[in-house]
C-alpha cells in the first residue's frame, strides 16, 4: 500500500499542471473577488468565507475531473486492475495523493485568506482542520463522480455527484458560524470527522467497483 502511495505521489508531483494549476486558480479567485466588488459598500468580512467555501468546492471539482483519465487512456489502470488483487488500495492511494498534494494546500490557502478577512489567528487551526476534512470528503466524492463517466468525459459524472457535495458545504458553513460565535464547534467537528472517516473508508471500494465496470 505504501509503495503504491509513494509511486502515485511521485507521479502526481511530476505533473505540475495537475496540482499547481488548481491551487493557482484558487488564489486567483480569492484575490479577484474583492477586486470585482466595491468594498466600500459591502462588509466583505461577513461573506468572504462563503467565497472561500465555493472556491474549495469548484477547485476540488476541477482538480479531480481527470483523476483516473490518464491511467485509463494509457492502459495502466487496466494493468493495475489485472495485477493488483486489492484494486481499492490503488484507488485509496490515488485519492489520498490528491488530497495531500492539492487538498491540504487548498486548506492552507483558505486559512490564510480567512485571516486576511477577519478570522482571529487563534482560530486558524480550527479553520484549517475543517477545510481539510471538507476537502477529504469532496475529493472522495468527486473522484467517485469522475470514475462514473471516465470514458465519456469525467465532467458528466462529477456533475452528477455535485448535488451530494452540497450537504458538505452546508456543514462547512455551519462550522464557520460556530467558530465565529464561539459555541458548538466540537459537535460540528465530530460530525465532520465521523463522515470523513466513513467516506474515506467506503468510497475507494465504491470507486473501484465503478472502475471495474468500465474495465470488464
Amino acid at each position: 500500500m505504501i509503495k503504491i502511495f509513494q509511486s502515485e505521489f511521485f507521479k502526481l508531483r511530476k505533473k505540475l499542471r495537475t496540482w499547481l494549476g488548481p491551487l493557482l486558480i484558487m488564489v486567483l479567485v480569492l484575490i479577484a473577488f474583492p477586486l470585482s466588488i466595491d468594498i466600500s459598500q459591502y462588509d466583505l468580512n461577513r461573506f468572504y468565507f462563503s467565497i472561500i467555501v465555493v472556491a474549495l468546492l469548484m477547485i476540488s471539482f476541477l482538480s479531480t475531473e481527470g483523476i483516473f483519465l490518464e491511467d485509463y487512456e494509457d492502459g495502466s489502470l487496466e494493468q493495475v486492475y489485472l495485477v493488483e488483487q486489492d484494486f481499492y488500495k490503488f484507488v485509496l492511494a490515488k485519492v489520498l495523493t490528491f488530497v495531500l498534494l492539492i487538498g491540504v494546500p487548498m486548506a492552507g490557502i483558505g486559512s490564510v485568506f480567512s485571516i486576511l478577512n477577519g478570522i482571529s489567528i487563534n482560530e486558524v487551526p480550527k479553520i484549517f482542520f475543517m477545510m481539510f476534512l471538507s476537502n477529504l470528503l469532496l475529493f472522495n466524492l468527486f473522484a467517485f463522480g469522475s470514475s462514473l463517466s471516465i470514458n465519456k468525459g469525467a465532467i458528466l459524472g462529477v456533475l452528477a455527484t455535485l448535488p451530494l457535495a452540497l450537504p458538505i458545504i452546508i456543514l462547512l458553513g455551519r462550522g464557520v458560524r460556530t467558530i465565529q460565535h464561539g459555541i458548538g464547534f466540537e459537535g460540528v467537528m465530530a460530525l465532520m470527522v465521523g463522515s470523513g472517516l466513513l467516506v474515506a473508508s467506503i468510497t475507494p471500494l465504491i470507486i473501484s467497483a465503478t472502475l471495474k465496470t468500465h474495465l470488464e
Binding site: G157, L159, A160, P163
Partner: protein, 243 residues
C-alpha cells in the same frame, strides 16, 4: 430463498405480463382516489384559520413531496437488487422511475413555490428543506443524463445503480432537514410517533390524495417501464409476439 424469489419474478417478460393484468385497476382506482381527494380537499374541506384557502395546495404539494422521496427510495432498493443479483428488470425500473421521480419532484418544488407566496411572501427561500429537495431534483436529472450518455446499456445500468445507491444518503438529509436546521419550512404534521396535528376534516382528503397520488404514480411508472422494456428488449422473440 429471497434470491430465488427475485429471480423467479424478475424476468422482463413476466413483469410485462403481470402488470398488464393489474394496470387498468391500479390506474383507474388511483385516478378516482386522486379525484375524490382533490374535490373533497378543494371544495368541501373547511378553510384554514390562519392560512385561509391557500393551504388547499397541500392536497397536491404534500403527496408530491412524499413521493419525490419515496420514488428515490424505491430506486435505491432496485439499484441494490441490480448490483447484488444482476437483475436486469431492476435497472429498467430505475431508469423508468427516475423520469417519474424527476416529474413529481418538480411538481413538489413548483407547488411549494406557489404556496410560498401567500405564506412566506416569497417564491423561493434558500431553506434547508427546499434546497435539499432541489438537490434531489438535480440528482434525478443527473441519473437520467448519466444513463443516457453510454451506448453500452449494460454498463450504463450498473453505473446508474451505483450512483443511485450512493445518492440515497440525500434522503435522510431531506427528511430530517426541518429538524436539523433552523428553517422556514414547517416540520411534519403527520408522524408515526406523535400522530397528527391536522383536523380530521382536512386530514381525510389529504390521506386519500396521498393514496391516489401513489397509485397514479405507480401506474405512470408501469407505463414508462413497459415502454422502456419493450424498447430495450425489442430484439427478443417475446417482444415481437407481444407487439
Amino acid at each position: 430463498m429471497f434470491s430465488s424469489f427475485v429471480h423467479r419474478f424478475s424476468s422482463p417478460k413476466s413483469y410485462v405480463e403481470i402488470t398488464r393484468k393489474f394496470f387498468p385497476y391500479i390506474s383507474l382506482f388511483g385516478f378516482l382516489l386522486l379525484l375524490i381527494g382533490w374535490i373533497w380537499g378543494l371544495a368541501f374541506a373547511p378553510e384554514d384559520a390562519v392560512q385561509g384557502n391557500s393551504y388547499r395546495i397541500i392536497y397536491l404539494h404534500v403527496p408530491a413531496s412524499i413521493f419525490a422521496q419515496l420514488v428515490y427510495f424505491f430506486m435505491s432498493i432496485c439499484a441494490l437488487i441490480h448490483l447484488v443479483w444482476r437483475v436486469k428488470l431492476a435497472a429498467y425500473l430505475i431508469k423508468s422511475a427516475a423520469l417519474v421521480g424527476a416529474m413529481i419532484t418538480f411538481i413538489a418544488l413548483f407547488s411549494g413555490s406557489i404556496w410560498g407566496i401567500p405564506t412566506w411572501g416569497t417564491w423561493w427561500q434558500w431553506d434547508a428543506r427546499i434546497t435539499s429537495t432541489l438537490i434531489l431534483f438535480i440528482m434525478y436529472l443527473g441519473i437520467i443524463t448519466l444513463h443516457g450518455s453510454f451506448s453500452n446499456l449494460e454498463k450504463a445500468d450498473r453505473l446508474m445503480s451505483i450512483l443511485v445507491v450512493v445518492g440515497v444518503v440525500n434522503i435522510p438529509i431531506i427528511k430530517k432537514s426541518v429538524d436539523w436546521w433552523s428553517t422556514l419550512h414547517q416540520s411534519a404534521s403527520i408522524t408515526i410517533s406523535d400522530g397528527t396535528s391536522i383536523d380530521p376534516s382536512m386530514l381525510y382528503p389529504l390521506l386519500i390524495s396521498i393514496f391516489g397520488m401513489g397509485l397514479t404514480l405507480i401506474s405512470l411508472g408501469i407505463l414508462s417501464s413497459k415502454f422502456y422494456i419493450l424498447t430495450r428488449e425489442k430484439n427478443k422473440k417475446w417482444v415481437q409476439s407481444y407487439v
